[in-house]
């Protein structure tokens, strides 16, 4: 292990280290802490300029309740969920199929198609923006949840296919050949043999894609315009204009928007990091 484990250091050094770590963490998360504290304040605190002291009164319930009763935040959250969940399912489904084809079949265009999916990950959104917006309008899907979902599914398919293809590639070929010898059809091999084996990879991707899509702002801006479809990121931006100096409400809204991806991360931490750091150890 590098650096040397701190347990081997002197007790004084150990204490200093642990204190140092907590202080560093406190500084690192200062912006977040400030936002959390502000979301507990009253309006009078804000207008008096009491931003950093102890709140003169704790308005936790009032502020968070206010966000839901005076704004469409509840709707925004629901929209985000209705956009994110189908996207995850759709992207994983089409990518798993494609990834298996690219990992375990030899055909001429294999490497070209693989390169296409990799390259797709890195392109700037702006090169897609105008045509995707026009397509969505032509399909009659502008300002609908389905319109956003379809685009997200297609775009995320690039990353998912890359990830799953490398994962499936590492599975031994002999497994598949043995199944073929037993007379199993190609689709049966995929659904009965491969799919259960790639479950950890699917879980890792699911949390990652959930977070990416939940946090998307650009496409929500481009493909959606009414409150009834807006996800929470675009909703928050709209509310910022409406709330003006009511920073306690903006703060509470921001905290609410951050809770789903943060809890997703904490619940599925192992998968999340495994997905994110693919290739960081080998490759």
């Amino acid at each position: 292990m590098f650096p040397t484990p701190i347990d081997k250091a002197s007790p004084a050094a150990r204490t200093a280290y642990h204190a140092g770590v907590w202080v560093a963490l406190l500084i690192w998360l200062l912006p977040l802490g400030a936002m959390l504290l502000t979301s507990f304040r009253s309006l009078s605190d804000i207008s008096m300029g009491n931003f950093w002291g102890i709140p003169s009164e704790w308005m936790i319930i009032e502020n968070y309740q206010g966000v839901f009763t005076t704004t469409p935040m509840g709707r925004f959250l629901l929209n985000s969920l209705m956009i994110t969940v189908p996207t995850v399912a759709g992207a994983l489904a089409i990518s798993a199929l494609a990834a298996y084809a690219l990992a375990k079949y030899n055909f001429k265009l294999n490497i070209v198609l693989f390169a296409l999916f990799i390259a797709g990950n890195f392109i700037p959104f702006q090169i897609l923006m105008i045509p995707v917006r026009n397509l969505t309008i032509q399909f009659g899907l502008y300002d609908t949840i389905i319109g956003l979902v379809l685009f997200h599914v297609a775009f995320q398919a690039g990353f998912c296919t890359l990830f799953l293809r490398n994962f499936i590639k590492a599975l031994p070929n002999s497994l598949i050949e043995a199944a073929r010898c037993d007379g199993a059809g190609e689709f049966r091999i995929f659904f009965v043999l491969i799919l259960p084996l790639i479950r950890p990879a699917l879980a890792a991707l699911a949390v990652l894609i959930f977070t990416f899509v939940w946090n998307d702002y650009f496409w929500a801006l481009v493909l959606v315009q009414s409150d009834s479809v807006r996800p929470v990121t675009a909703g928050l931006e709209a509310l910022k204009g409406q709330w003006l100096a009511s920073w306690q409400m903006i703060a509470a809204g921001a905290i609410i928007a951050a809770i789903p991806p943060v809890s997703m991360f904490f619940l599925m931490q192992k998968h999340f990091i495994a997905g994110l750091t693919m290739g960081a150890t080998k490759g």
Partner: protein, 296 residues
């Protein structure tokens, strides 16, 4: 029919498997790229039926547009300063790479900024920089370092740096997690062998650890450069490109021209430039990836 299927299954099945993904990817990624490239030679307001062919007109206009050069310069600032995140991420990873339950919690908390939306990050920092009550000004004036409040986000000179600083927060967290994973996978034998040879501390880091972290470094640099060129959300929420377009980048400039000013052809030309810059990068990444494929 049945016989044909039995005999040719292995040839047909991969294409059947690929069909849904290929259709989606062609419709929403490949075809739009081609369309954007061609649209950049036209003038179009996004509504009219007719598009007016202008050849390289949009590009000529672009090269005379001050906002284009400001945006390009800002993109460069983003890339350069964003590249601080791999080394800082490595430093934090080395600092935190210890065992124990508390340490696991601390590592997760350090990773937090990456998980939350950039919109939320942007709101936090807008506030952090606020000239009348932001923490930055409160602290600096308490320390007596400034006599007048600093309004970073309304200063044409400082604004881009202030936004990049906000962007570094999640990006460093991302690099940190890449390096923590990399450090986990380092062979213990090599460390022990090196320390028997009297190698330790910084020399160990440079000669033994860093070479083994190369995959992590590669990915950290790739995602950092891509992230910096993609920067949009923070600018949109913190300044909307202002004051006087001084914090604009190509991605934001493109959005503004197409959606706000209805200049789709001009927007497509900006997108094309951004795409070409990234294409160099994508080509580099692809060759590296495919080379490794061959080695395997």
């Amino acid at each position: 029919m049945r016989e044909f299927w039995e005999n040719n299954q292995i040839k047909i099945v991969p294409w059947l498997l690929l069909t849904p993904a290929l259709i989606m990817f062609s419709v929403y990624v490949v075809y739009p790229i081609i369309q954007s490239l061609s649209l950049s030679f036209f003038e179009w307001d996004g509504l009219a039926d007719e598009k007016l062919f202008v050849g390289f007109g949009n590009y000529r206009e672009l090269f005379d547009d001050d906002v284009f050069w400001t945006s390009l310069k800002n993109n460069l600032i983003w890339v350069i300063f964003y590249l601080l995140s791999p080394p800082i991420g490595l430093a934090i990873a080395l600092f935190l790479n210890q065992k124990g339950l508390a340490m696991r919690l601390i590592k997760s908390l350090f990773f937090f900024p990456f998980v939350i939306s950039q919109i939320v990050v942007g709101l936090m920092f807008t506030w952090f920089y606020d000239p009348s009550f932001g923490l930055l000004n409160v602290v600096l004036s308490k320390l007596g370092a400034i006599s007048e409040p600093l309004a970073l986000l309304s200063s044409e000179r400082a604004v881009t740096y202030a936004i990049v600083f906000a962007g570094l927060w999640p990006q460093i967290a991302y690099c940190m997690i890449l390096y923590l994973t990399g450090l986990n996978g380092i062979s213990r034998g090599q460390i022990e062998a090196a320390s028997l040879d009297g190698c330790s501390g910084l020399r160990m880091l440079w000669h033994v650890i860093l070479p083994q972290l190369r995959p992590a470094t590669f990915i950290a640099i790739v995602v950092t450069v891509i992230g910096s060129l993609r920067s949009f959300d923070l600018i949109a929420i913190m300044t909307a490109g202002g004051p006087y377009n001084s914090s604009s980048v190509l991605a934001f400039f493109m959005y503004e021209q197409s959606i706000t000013n209805y200049r789709m052809g001009y927007g497509a030309a900006i997108a094309t430039i951004l795409f070409l810059i990234m294409a160099i990068y994508i080509a580099y990444f692809l060759t590296r990836m495919l080379q490794q494929e061959r080695i395997r």
